[in-house]
Symmetry: C2
Subunit: 341 residues, 2 copies
DNA sequence: CTGTTAGCGCGTTCAT
DNA sequence: ATGAACGCGCTAACAG
């Protein structure tokens, strides 16, 4: 491996001059600059990043913590985050917490060990008081996740509004008994959605039956189970279900078809995230679209600012809003056709 | 930030002793070891990884290059790879090439800059002759991708067999005119599948009509387009289609339902990868299952060996085999029911 | 404009 | 069993 020293010798100059060329410093004569470039070329020289990090006290790397890459919402987020990062000449490293608090801490340690300049947290597994301590070592930005007590930037969607509007839509479609379904219980995201759901119900004078709550639904298989538990229930079944995940919704729709239920007639279903699968199912699934790209861009913008200013603490809220996409899983085709566009 | 020096002072010992404790070196008395541990605890000391990398000439990080995290085949691969890496006390960094040759080179440069100890390549975008040069800087292991000329370890599935067996299944179901569909043209993976496809056709005395070839199909939307191009073709339509992607297959099945075609009666469809969606579509989709976990484990095992031995070149083939999963998109439900299990 | 020098934090001889 | 000293490769004063 060629080092900066080798390049300097070959060019007949000092390390400093070579370093200046690398870092596009002014005050280097054209001729010497050219000499250095040639030497670098000939030796196939590339700066050693560990040495640079050590010297500069920064790595140019940002960690994004997500639960799992297989979750399409998060992988879509990553797509945009990465693009934005490279625009700012930073690299992204993607860390999967697998919903494990311990793994999350392992990755937060990247800040301590100086392997990354900042951490983007999309779904906190640990209590905020635990996470907060890492702010001594670098900036943390919450994206998607939010936390009342947190003294850091937060970029998130109004989840309460999402729960509210989707549920209100179901009510407008004539449903009076609506089931609720979300992923892990203790997430702020889930509880905000539930608030919105309850608010819509309350406004319509409806009651929320705890038997209609499913709070551990993540996969399409969970959706299948939920459908069957509804189907086999004798009387007093819900006629609609709000879900916090397109995959779960797809599982419900799929299993409903196999049981010869007609959707939305026998059961109306809403999903969440507007993933590809919602358009492939039959009927297509009504869903909540999140402004993922805008959120990702804002997140990176805020992160860059924090890194630049070395300002790790300080609350900052950036709220985004959803869009309800109405399809056949909640509205009869005939009704949809009547909508002018 | 506390450094090793701070810890040494606090413990009233030398840096060397502290370093020995950190690296679990023998020849440190119990008492002093305890003292060091205490000092580290009190100061919240964490070793600086840049300094360690610089000194040790290794980072403990491995890069995995994949086209996109949103592709479920690759994200599943990553799940297992990451698990295996952490078992070997290594970290994984996930790099998306976005099918861009230029981006791929950017990431291969991580080897040159010593940011990673090795690179796992799952889908090569550049010609092998270009990639080969990076072998001067660290080990490269091909996983999923393969390349006749490559002098590195390759872990892959027999794609030709997959194309052959899936196609043979369609022939056994009575089809005589079968369409072929794959992703990007110039991939070795795709061409091996096509070889198998052609072989099955040839054995049955069937001809491969170029009008039945679709070679740019990646997304479910591509599947929709393909279905419509088949549907609107007047006569001489294929009665079955082999695809190299479950998403494309799902697009076809979905659009077929909307056009009131009956699958598999009007068109039989096979997918690839056994993704969740194949079980959610109606009918469920026949597909090829790859031994993803086994391949990931072998890949990491081989990578660790190469890193340990500092042996970057040397061909090594690890071939794995597929499993055909037959469902209703190729076989009438009545027929499937007759299969004993 | 250019070179000399002094660390960044750590691990490892080589002494003792 | 412990410590002193060197250098991994790079950049930023400082001096010219």
């Amino acid at each position: 491996m060629a080092t900066i020293e080798d390049v300097a010798r070959r060019a007949g100059l000092s390390r400093t001059t070579v370093s200046r060329v690398i870092n596009e410093h002014p005050y280097v004569s054209i001729t010497k600059k050219k000499k250095v470039m040639e030497a670098m070329e000939e030796l196939g020289y590339v700066p050693n990043s560990a040495a640079r990090s050590l010297r500069n006290q920064r790595t140019g790397v940002i960690a994004v913590l997500i639960p799992r890459v297989m979750n399409p919402f998060f992988s879509q987020l990553i797509e945009t985050l990465e693009h934005a990062a490279s625009e700012s000449f930073h690299q992204l490293i993607i860390c999967q917490t697998q919903y494990s608090a311990k793994k999350e801490l392992t990755y937060l340690n990247l800040l301590k060990t100086k392997q990354v300049d900042g951490v983007i947290l999309t779904s906190a597994e640990n209590d905020w008081s635990v996470i907060e301590e890492y702010l001594d070592y670098g900036p943390i930005v919450l994206c998607n996740e939010f936390e009342e007590r947190a003294n850091v930037p937060m970029v998130f969607m109004d989840q309460k509004e999402a729960g509210y509007k989707a549920t209100k839509h179901l009510i407008e479609m004539g449903h009076r008994k609506i089931a609720y379904c979300c992923g892990r219980y203790r997430s702020n995201v889930a509880s905000a959605r539930e608030e919105g759901f309850s608010k819509a119900l309350a406004e319509a004078g409806l009651v929320f039956d705890e038997r209609d709550a499913f709070r551990e639904a993540i996969t399409s298989e969970d959706g299948i189970d939920i459908f069957n538990s509804i189907r086999t229930r004798g009387s007093n079944r819900p006629t609609a279900i709000f879900t916090g995940s397109d995959e779960v919704a797809a599982g419900i729709v799929s299993e409903a078809a196999r049981s010869n239920w007609s959707i939305p007639r026998d059961l109306a279903v809403t999903g969440f995230d507007n993933q590809v699968i919602t358009e492939l199912m039959n009927p297509r699934i009504t869903t909540v679209e999140q402004p993922v790209c805008e959120m990702a861009l804002k997140t990176m913008e805020v992160m860059m600012a924090r890194i630049r200013l070395r300002q790790f603490t300080g609350r900052e809220m950036h709220k985004f809003y959803m869009k309800l996409i109405i399809r056949e899983s909640t509205k009869m085709q005939a009704e949809l056709a009547r909508i002018p566009y």
